[in-house]
């Protein structure tokens, strides 16, 4: 299995023995993970397995307690979201994290506004925002100047995804990006994931929808109660296998590095 991966070159990001606990609760108990440029790595696992916690560590939102993170082979510190974005890591969070009092454009460009002489170039941002949204098959948003608080669940999710793919990133992490999306939008997002990979971006996608996972993923990593119980090649495994790992019916083999 590892042989096939070596073919994918060096991993862009590599976690080793990552540990995280919240007070008494130990959530990640020494997790390893790799993501390769141009490949889609799916991260699956039961509710509460620790998937979101794992990627929040990668995003610098909740730093790990212990463990090594290597980016392009170099150990890096991810203490703040700025550290992560400096490395070219873009994240769509499960809880979306949008500012309800701002509009769509303002949210999409938050932290990376286009300016000219220090003042906003609103026209350019509007155009880029609506281009990106349109490519995600958004149909019911009337204006990119709508407040985010007035959007439907799926619309909010689309804005969060659009935000993450607005700028060229090296690693895009999507935490259940299609949970609230309609049929057409889900399809567009899966296309988008594939297009990103084709352009050499590393993608980590978390999803409970195994059909979607098998559609786009090159590798599938399964987290079970804070431990990585399997790292599989998507085309060498089956849905039932993966479900087995997720529910704990199957136990880890040697392949779990």
């Amino acid at each position: 299995m590892d042989a096939s991966r070596d073919g994918a070159g060096t991993p862009i990001i590599e976690l080793e023995g990552v540990v995280k606990s919240f007070g008494p609760v130990s959530v990640l108990k020494g997790v390893d993970l790799k993501a390769y440029p141009g490949k889609v790595t799916a991260l699956v696992g039961d509710n509460g397995a620790g998937k979101s916690t794992l990627i929040k560590g990668l995003a610098g939102v909740q730093p790990y307690d212990d463990g090594v993170v290597r980016f392009d082979g170099e150990p890096v510190n991810l203490h703040t979201p700025r550290d992560a974005s400096r490395l070219g890591i873009e994240v769509v969070y499960q809880d979306l994290a949008l500012c309800d009092n701002l509009d769509i454009v303002q949210n999409m460009f938050l932290g990376r506004e286009e300016t000219e002489f220090g003042t906003f170039d609103e026209g350019r941002m509007e155009r880029d925002a609506s281009d990106t949204l349109r490519s995600l098959s958004v149909r019911t948003v009337k204006s990119v100047r709508q407040k985010v608080s007035s959007l439907s669940g799926g619309q909010r999710q689309t804005v969060a995804i659009a935000r993450a793919v607005l700028k060229k990133a090296r690693l895009v992490i999507l935490d259940e990006p299609t949970a609230a999306l309609g049929v057409a939008q889900t399809e567009q997002v899966l296309h988008l994931v594939q297009r990103l990979a084709e352009q050499g971006v590393a993608v980590i996608i978390i999803s409970h929808n195994l059909a979607d996972v098998f559609e786009v993923a090159d590798y599938i990593s399964v987290l079970y109660l804070g431990q990585m119980v399997a790292s599989l090649d998507a085309d060498q495994t089956t849905r039932d296998d993966v479900v087995g790992y997720i529910t704990g019916a199957k136990t880890p083999q040697g392949a779990s590095a």
Partner: protein, 427 residues
Amino acid sequence: MSTQKTSPAVDPSVTTIPADLIGSGQEGSLGDQVRAYFQRLRSGDMGALPAVGGFVVLTILFSFLSPFFLTERNFANLLTQAATLVMLGMALVFVLLLGEIDLSAGVTSGMTMALFIVLVNVNGVPWILALLVAFAVGILTGTFIGFFVARVGIPSFVVTLGLFLGYQGITLWIIGAGGLYRVQIPEITAIQNSNMPVWAGWAMLGVILAVSAATSFWDRARRRRAGVANRTIALVWIKLGVIAVVGGAAIAILSRNRGQSVGVVEGVPIVVPIVLVILWIGTFVLDRTKYGRYLYAIGGNAEAARRSGVKVMLIRWTAFICCSTLAVVSGLFSISKVGSVDAAAGREIVLSGVAAAVVGGVSLFGGRGRLLHAAIGALVIAVITNGLGLLNLPAGVNLVVTGSVLILAATVDAISRVRAGGSVLRT
């Protein structure tokens, strides 16, 4: 082409949706825009409109109650009387936008002014230098508060309450044996007590119109370059027209001789252009720069802002510096008006400052409000004092009426928002 920064993963050609489906609300004729504006109002997005309404109602009320209310002189009075509160309200907007509060803003202005005057009067320091020291201390104050709030994580209510007490002590110590010092710097006294020449008032209006037109057209040019819709140009002309008419009327009134006793008093009070410049710069920063945008973002959802890479701590910190610095300006207006500084300077005003902002439509919970709102709110509160001052009521009645009018003004605001479909929590 300037799209290259957009991720190439986004390929608009794969979609079948027409390019103009997602607009920006700027499309459409004048009629569409006006309709959209009223719909925004109806949906509860009223801004400072209720406060403006309250102001108008109070104006009408007082002009019935006192023949002196609607005089040129009283109009000038109102502007100078409101200046201190307007500045303080604007100062507080910076921290209110974050959902924080600065209870020490008043005593900061008092303490720095005490320092300023004592340096000049007792130590003989040149006033410009002393003023710089006062501003430096104001900036330090903001830095101090910001440190404890943004860095250490103490609720701003507690930090600034502590400072509210501490600065009273320091003012007491600075003012010392003299007890009460006269402001003897003609330049400072002039701020609130002298007027610009009449021509300068008109020139000011010209500058305002020019700046307003220039920014409007620059914005339009940039939008055109980016290829997005612009509002119909008629709106620009309407805006300039309104400024010309309202501003022109105000300046015409202020250009008439309002002296009641000896001598001619005419022209726009000097404090007015100062306030306008600060208001303009502040609004520019809040609306058009990253700093301002981040203030709103943090006030709306600090965690989301942090995840977007906003330096939350730094922005919070500097917001308190902005607040304290503008509080010093408000202190300057105050001593110019009063002509003296004593140990109690600035102790009472801070709650009124917060009230001004809130009445104007700034949210105490952060993320909503503009400098202009605070300024209008301050005018509402100032007009209460101004009007009641003409009625010669006993102290007790005066307090009761002030309190009631404040609640009433806020009621107008609340009801107009609810009518417009606001709060759903009233169950």
